[in-house]
């Protein structure tokens, strides 16, 4: 194509193809794709690193020992790597933090969705969500100093050890409170109005509507929120590393000192384990287990939301 002859007072309109511009567009698109692949490469790198070091770990430690023995004793002879003591530590903290966070979180969700004036909700919901923005090392400080030292020890005396799962679980419960309350509240707010009105018309009280109509209808969202909260507890490191102790312990007692999977990983990370040593490899083996657990919980939450949602429209 050629340039159109210029009209007086205007520059020629150049309609020729600009090959450089086309190339530039392609280059830009390629660099955008490169950006998008960073996240894919991250996942591949995580899987590769965990897999590679875990494989070297299992050259020295048998799978049988890892999965069938209950003793996690990497520091003293006889050295044994039985994962269940660390898993038990994680389950311990998950259990006790849910004991506190589940009723309170659900109560908060029901209150915000079914009882609160819209203005009250606008004020309270961000305040609750602010709990999720507090760094976990700060919660860890509170778990050790305020909760254990100032409250639990004076209350329970020597029955509770200085490092214990209860203090860590209590702060963990505060940390996951917004996860449970906020996501469950969203699910409840999405339950159609008609259902509530039908129940009121049949003479149900507000509490009956909330507990017997809205809560069951929003159950998939509630379950998803709990799964996500569990995933956060399983992956949380600082609170348990500081307040729960470093004693692998096959117990569900909240009063004893325990060690979780993340707690062990941080303990090794604090020292300077050299590459190729069994200590270094063991954090990747435990990390692989941790990665699988959190992945299952997150995928589980997505499936619950997509598959079991009660659709009313």
């Amino acid at each position: 194509m050629t340039a159109i002859p210029s009209t007086p007072g205007r520059p020629a309109l150049d309609l020729r193809r600009k090959p450089m511009r086309h190339l530039g567009e392609k280059a830009i698109e390629l660099s955008l794709i490169a950006c998008a692949t960073v996240s894919l490469i991250t996942t591949l790198a995580i899987v590769f690193v965990l897999f590679e070091e875990t494989l070297s770990f299992f050259e020295e430690v048998t799978l049988r020992q890892f999965f069938l023995e209950t003793n996690w004793q990497p520091l003293f002879k006889p050295v044994t790597y039985g994962i269940w003591e660390l898993v038990a530590g994680t389950v311990n903290v998950v259990f006790w933090s849910l004991v506190f966070a589940l009723p309170v979180g659900l109560a908060a969700a029901i209150y915000l969705s079914e009882y609160a004036h819209p203005n009250t909700r606008k004020l309270l919901k961000p305040l609750l969500e602010a709990l999720a923005g507090v760094p976990t090392v700060v919660y860890a400080y509170f778990a050790l100093t305020v909760v254990t030292q100032d409250i639990l020890r004076p209350l329970l005396g020597d029955e509770i050890s200085f490092f214990n799962s209860l203090g860590a679980s209590l702060m963990m419960a505060v940390m996951i409170l917004p996860t449970i309350a906020s996501i469950s509240e969203d699910a409840m707010a999405n339950v159609p109005r008609d259902l509530r009105e039908a129940a009121y018309a049949l003479g149900a009280t507000r509490m009956e509507v909330a507990l017997r109509v809205v809560l069951p209808a929003a159950l998939s969202g509630v379950v998803a929120s709990v799964l996500l909260a569990i995933a956060r507890v399983v992956g949380e490191t600082m609170i348990v590393a500081i307040a729960a102790g470093s004693t692998p312990n096959l117990t569900l007692s909240p009063l004893e000192s325990i060690q979780t999977m993340t707690g062990y990983m941080l303990q090794v990370g604090l020292g300077d384990a050299a590459r190729g040593t069994i200590d270094y490899q063991s954090i990747f083996a435990v990390g692989a287990m941790l990665f699988m657990m959190t992945l299952l919980l997150n995928v589980g939450a997505q499936i619950v939301v997509n598959r079991f949602r009660e659709a009313y429209e």
Partner: protein
């Protein structure tokens, strides 16, 4: 018979009162409001109580000297100087690395990607990465950046680790901001002969910028409190020099390249360090450092809220 449910307050004297089991059900329901409210407030109350405890314990330690002293074996002389500088370098580098990658990914997903399987995989992958615990990013950084690439426990290794950690959050926030830009703006630009990239660069990204910045600031405030991932890559060290890259006496400011290869520590790691010591004096230091960290994080959140309000679309 329940002639009035408890959300209809009886207003006239002629209203019938429920009796027997209905009255009981209504009383229970009225009571439930206060029980549920108490539960909701308990979370907020814990936050307030802990804030009070921290301020009570740490307030007296806060001083200019505390902010400008190196860590020390003596609690009264120890301060946050090297950890504040370390945090600033780490977060600054993280932002510089994260902004282009996050915007690039979000622009590709929203504006360029063909609706095919690759796009589905990228989106699903981002959702799952968001749920990966930070300590896993820590051992990824340890294996790849610190050991494999040989960066050592340096500022660059820490910033790269945190960049990957906040990437899902920043991408998702950028995507949402880009989706808020009305299609008519894109169509207008394309109709005038702009290429796709020109449309994105001159119209979509500027329009989405407030939302992108809000998400970025919130992600940085998350990174500012991160401890476990940085301890895994080796930030738990005693640093008694400045991560400034400028020697204080001779070279003029901003001439020497920044010290991305330096060892570092950060404020949350310093809080950890002080918390695990048994002496009460170090606990006071930890409380004072928590005040500093929380003020910084709250300020970041405030800035994000202000940007969001300033640029809220009124339509």
């Amino acid at each position: 018979m329940a002639l009035h449910s408890d959300y209809l307050t009886p207003s006239s004297p002629t209203t019938l009162r429920a009796t027997g089991s209905v009255a009981r059900r209504q009383a229970v329901s009225r009571l439930s409001r206060y029980v549920l409210l108490a539960a909701t407030l308990s979370g907020v109350a814990v936050l307030v109580y802990l804030g009070y405890e921290t301020i009570a314990k740490g307030w007296d330690r806060l001083s200019w000297g505390f902010l400008t002293s190196y860590p020390s074996r003596f609690a009264e002389r120890a301060g946050l100087r090297s950890s504040i500088l370390g945090s600033a370098w780490i977060l600054g580098t993280t932002v510089i690395l994260a902004i282009p990658i996050a915007i690039g990914t979000a622009v590709w997903i929203e504006e360029f990607a063909p609706r095919n399987k690759l796009l589905t995989i990228v989106k699903l992958n981002l959702a799952n990465l968001a749920g990966v615990p930070s300590i896993i990013y820590g051992i990824l950084g340890l294996a790849v950046f610190v050991r494999l690439m040989g960066l050592g426990p340096s500022i660059l290794a820490g910033a790269l680790t945190l960049t990957l950690m906040i990437l899902p959050m920043t991408v998702i926030a950028s995507q949402e901001a880009i989706r808020q830009v009305p299609p008519s703006i894109r169509e207008g630009a394309l109709a005038l002969g702009a290429t796709r990239w020109q449309t994105v660069r001159h119209h979509v990204i500027p329009g989405a910028m407030p939302g992108i910045m809000t998400g970025m600031i919130l992600a940085v405030s998350r990174a500012a409190g991160e401890t476990a991932a940085l301890i895994m890559i080796g930030a738990f060290t005693f640093i008694s020099f400045d991560n400034t890259g400028l020697s204080p006496t001779d070279s003029p400011p901003f001439v020497t390249p920044p010290p991305l290869g330096d060892d570092f520590t950060t404020v949350p790691v310093q809080i950890y360090n002080w918390t695990i010591r048994p002496q009460e004096a170090f606990r006071e230091n930890a409380a004072a450092a928590i005040i500093v960290l929380m003020v910084a994080i709250l300020s970041l959140n405030l800035v994000a809220a202000v940007i969001r309000e300033r640029f809220r679309r009124h339509d």
